[in-house]
């Protein structure tokens, strides 16, 4: 055992002792702040969402959601910057699939595509009513747009369109936040009347925020996957 492994072992032991010390002092099964119970009690009347998670993600912690969108934007930009150039390692990269994919595969792909679009749109638009929302629905939309690339790798993916959608959706998100800032004094505060929880047009501006999040996440993830899949 050399010095480096010995130091690593000592570090691991110390980390374990610290974690156990923290674990033994944690008060389980009694809440520390009461924030969760307050949100559970007040969110349906205050924000108007049937799904409390959406109320937390977009109304109470909207700035954190903007931070998540920023992280995804930076990752997508980095992938685009690195991979958008002409591939220099084309000889190493084998083709994703042969030009003639099987009949079952291509037929199933074209059969699955509209249903995936429908599922992604449903998850995004009902984010304030049922579990799901912009991030999950955006990922489903990106998977739907990846299927044609998987079937025929030569099929073009319009990066200009996805970049435009991403930009517009991000600007809409920040714009709604700025309107709330100048209207009520809080950035990304929910706008409009809460309405009746459970209706499709309820919860004020939250469905539009989630629509922007869904389009942005879907365009970014589809762009990343399309960049990686191009030969």
């Amino acid at each position: 055992m050399n010095l480096r492994e010995f130091a690593g072992l000592i570090f691991l032991l110390g980390l374990g002792v610290l974690l156990i010390a923290v674990l033994t002092t944690l008060p389980y099964s009694n809440s520390l702040t009461g924030v969760g119970n307050n949100i559970l009690a007040q969110a349906p009347a205050e924000v108007g969402t049937a799904n409390i998670v959406t109320a937390v993600v977009l109304a109470y912690r909207g700035l954190d959601t903007l931070g998540e969108l920023l992280i995804l934007f930076v990752a997508s930009t980095a992938v685009g910057m690195i991979l958008s150039k002409a591939p220099g390692t084309a000889s190493v990269t084998p083709p994703l699939s042969n030009t003639s994919t099987g009949f079952v595969f291509s037929a199933a792909a074209s059969l699955l595509f509209p249903f995936l679009i429908l599922l992604g749109s449903y998850v995004i638009l009902h984010g304030h009513l049922t579990p799901g929302g912009g991030f999950q629905g955006g990922a489903i939309l990106a998977a739907a747009f990846f299927i044609p690339i998987l079937v025929s790798p030569a099929s073009p993916f319009k990066h200009a369109v996805s970049s435009l959608l991403e930009t517009v959706a991000g600007l809409v998100f920040i714009g709604i936040g700025l309107v709330a800032l100048f209207g009520s004094g809080y950035f990304l505060a929910p706008l409009g009347h809460p309405g009746t929880p459970g209706a499709l047009l309820s919860a004020g501006s939250l469905p539009f925020l989630y629509l922007a999040v869904g389009i942005k996440v879907g365009a970014e993830l589809a762009g990343i996957v399309a960049h990686l899949a191009q030969p």
Binding site: N51, V92, T93, F135, Q136, A139, A142, A143, V225, L228
Partner: protein, 97 residues
């Protein structure tokens, strides 16, 4: 019933995690990580967190596996045919010597 679903998904997660450590083929490791994410999403449903389960199934089991596999293809580690282990150890020892 719920207990057994949770137990089997945890066992599947453990198996997939150990398989990720032991497997030789990078593509199989990516598939094992997707299986782990899928079992984790089932566990999230049992624990009554459907939002997290949706995110885990869509991102963890679906898109991250695709992104990792495409990255393997980009860096030239995509191989589907598994070499016999004897040949692998032989070439590795030859490379060492």
């Amino acid at each position: 019933m719920l207990f057994w679903i949770a137990l089997s998904s945890v066992m599947l997660m453990l198996t997939a995690g150990v398989a990720m450590l032991l497997l030789d083929n990078y593509l199989a490791v990516v598939v094992a990580s997707s299986v782990l994410s899928l079992a984790l999403s089932v566990l999230f449903v049992v624990l009554q967190a459907p939002d997290v389960a949706l995110a885990e199934a869509a991102v963890g089991a679906g898109l991250s596996g695709v992104i990792l596999a495409l990255t393997l293809r980009r860096v030239g580690l995509w191989r589907i045919n598994v070499q016999p282990p004897a040949a692998v150890t032989k070439t590795s020892t030859e490379a060492k010597s």
